[in-house]
Symmetry: C2
Subunit: 340 residues, 2 copies
DNA sequence: TTGTAAGCGTTATCAT
DNA sequence: ATGATAACGCTTACAA
């Protein structure tokens, strides 16, 4: 059995509670005893038991992470690594630990969250996605359990702290950029329509068209998985239209890579025949031939800020609900040209 | 306060210990009381408190993950997502949770591990890397704490359960393949020489040369970070040699992408002027222009098997030390040609 | 400033 | 087959 607080107490000739106070660096302990206790701790190689501490203090210093339930897809997207990087950094700075839960089905994920929450495993939760009608969000809200979502919650937007980009504006700007090049037959290739990020970007796209008096063509809108295969499927579909689009707004780099693959295979020139703007500005965008014009959404920062705001929430009982918007920027490369 | 075992006990008219036994599905409880207790649990919406359970049973059902301390670099490599995917799957199947620890410096990581271990946060640990002279490995070995490493430990190979590829053979096969195309000026671009994976692959490379009576040229061997930038640096260096190599063995796809970038920039034709074989077979390899011949090492399986063997270790006090080798395979694409 | 003792919610060892 | 009760290692009133 490991060294406990009692062993230290005995060695330092004090009560266990005194040792506990020294650990917490309570000001009500004299410097001399503090020193004696600390020496004893070093001497014995004492390390506090987190589990016992958690049980007594009802706080674990662990943050739970909820991945989308189709995590297979999610893992393949560079988005994953990047958020984790930001999360990991934030968590480390604040001396918290990170615990993951995945799950194949929605129910699976839900169960995982319930275990984390009711099992007392975590102090707070970060959702790495946000979709309409989400059971997990309802559950957490109902229980009043501290959580923040990365992205925009579909319901209760003003009741849930979240970290997001202004996806509406980002998509509008991207579309405007394409329109500025003279295009008016612009396709939209997005992820699942139940993800709020898709909804917002679609809206921005529509708004841009409207503002430029370009008629919306529902046939130009396609939804697929955030995967390369999704992009491939989508282009094939779009090229079947009587008048195919001359430009594409693709809401994810990995999809865009699929789009580029398909077009290249069919020997359709990018950007001379088809222009592409994509989102996320992953390394893929830069590596693609031609390199993709893409909207950088600062994914790492999304993660970092999510941790920061969750920890604020944890510290401050009645921290106000916050909505944090991470800035985006259009990175122009070589996938867009003037309309043919 | 949440529903506890006592509340359930009261509601079902039994002792708390009985409820505990029902949770553990002890055979020594009659079916009738089991049913009564379970009904009470459902009724009250009871969920066991993991923390309390952990404290009492001295087992957390959590596995700790140790990332290399230069995690910034690590996160950018698709290797990360892929192992995590395998780990996550394994962990989920076995009803364990995954907890991450990063750390900027080696000392940082070490501290994180000590906290996990002595803090009783985790039942076992998986190391996502392996390098020479590793403090963490020494620490875990000394304490006899259950852990497995992904990759090959440098010391105590036959005392530490690990999941690895046969990197020696893989590199040898890759080099043989290049030699078979008539090359005899073959460069080696590897990661940090303190990583065992680099050491093994270098050895395989050397062995292949030797077997074909090709003289080893130390000037053809470069070590850089597992990053695109690393690859870029390395090629530039190699092209400064009086007789530059006509083929390159690059031990990571992301580096290889950097290599391709640099060569393309200098208008050096791949594969006609320089051939490339890389490792890991990430999506990058396929996406690269030209697509890269790469060795698939089945990263996801590395993760999955690591979890499985760790859990075996946890279940069985004296489970024998294991060495699990995940098969690799050469995926031939278009980055290699006959020697000029 | 420090000690005593009662929890925190389980599991596990004795009894019965 | 079930119930009391003592751990598990810590925090935190309440006393002194």
């Amino acid at each position: 059995m490991a060294i406990t607080i009692k062993d230290v107490a005995k060695q330092a000739n004090v009560a266990p509670s005194t040792v506990s106070r020294v650990i917490a660096n309570s000001p009500r302990i004299s410097e001399t005893t503090k020193k004696r206790v600390r020496d004893a701790m070093d001497d014995l190689g004492y390390h506090p038991n987190f589990i016992a501490r958690s049980l007594a203090s009802q706080s674990t210093k662990v943050i739970g992470l909820v991945l989308p339930h189709s995590s297979g897809v999610f893992f393949q997207n560079p988005f994953f690594s990047e958020v984790i990087q930001g999360l990991s950094e934030g968590v480390h700075e604040n001396h918290y630990a990170l615990q993951m839960t995945s799950g194949k089905t929605e129910f699976d994920s839900y169960e995982g969250v319930v275990q984390m929450v009711q099992g007392g495993r975590v102090d707070g939760i970060i959702l790495l996605y946000s979709m309409v009608d989400d059971k997990i969000i309802s559950y957490l809200s109902k229980r009043n359990f501290p959580f923040v979502v990365i992205g925009k919650p579909f319901d209760l937007v003003d009741k849930i702290t979240h970290v997001d980009n202004d996806n509406y504006m980002a998509a509008k700007e991207a579309t405007d950029y394409i329109i500025g090049l003279g295009h008016n037959k612009i396709g939209f290739i997005g992820g699942s329509p139940s993800l709020t990020v898709t909804i917002d970007r679609l809206q921005g796209y529509k708004e841009a068209l409207k503002a430029s008096n370009i008629e919306l063509n529902e046939d130009y809108i396609i939804h697929e998985d955030f995967l390369r295969e999704g992009g491939q499927e989508a282009v094939k579909e779009l090229l079947r239209r009587t008048i195919p689009p001359t430009a594409l707004l693709v809401t994810d780099d990995l999809m865009a890579v699929g789009v580029v693959n398909s077009l290249t295979e069919m020997e359709i020139d990018i950007p001379n025949k088809v222009s592409i703007v994509s989102f996320n500005n992953a390394l893929f965008a830069e590596m693609s031939r031609p390199p993709l014009t893409s909207i950088d959404i600062n994914i790492k920062e999304l993660g970092y800020q999510a941790v920061s705001s969750l920890i604020q929430l944890l510290k401050n009982e009645n921290e106000p609900v916050k909505r944090i918007i991470i800035p985006h920027r259009l990175v122009i490369r070589q996938s867009c040209g003037v309309a043919p």
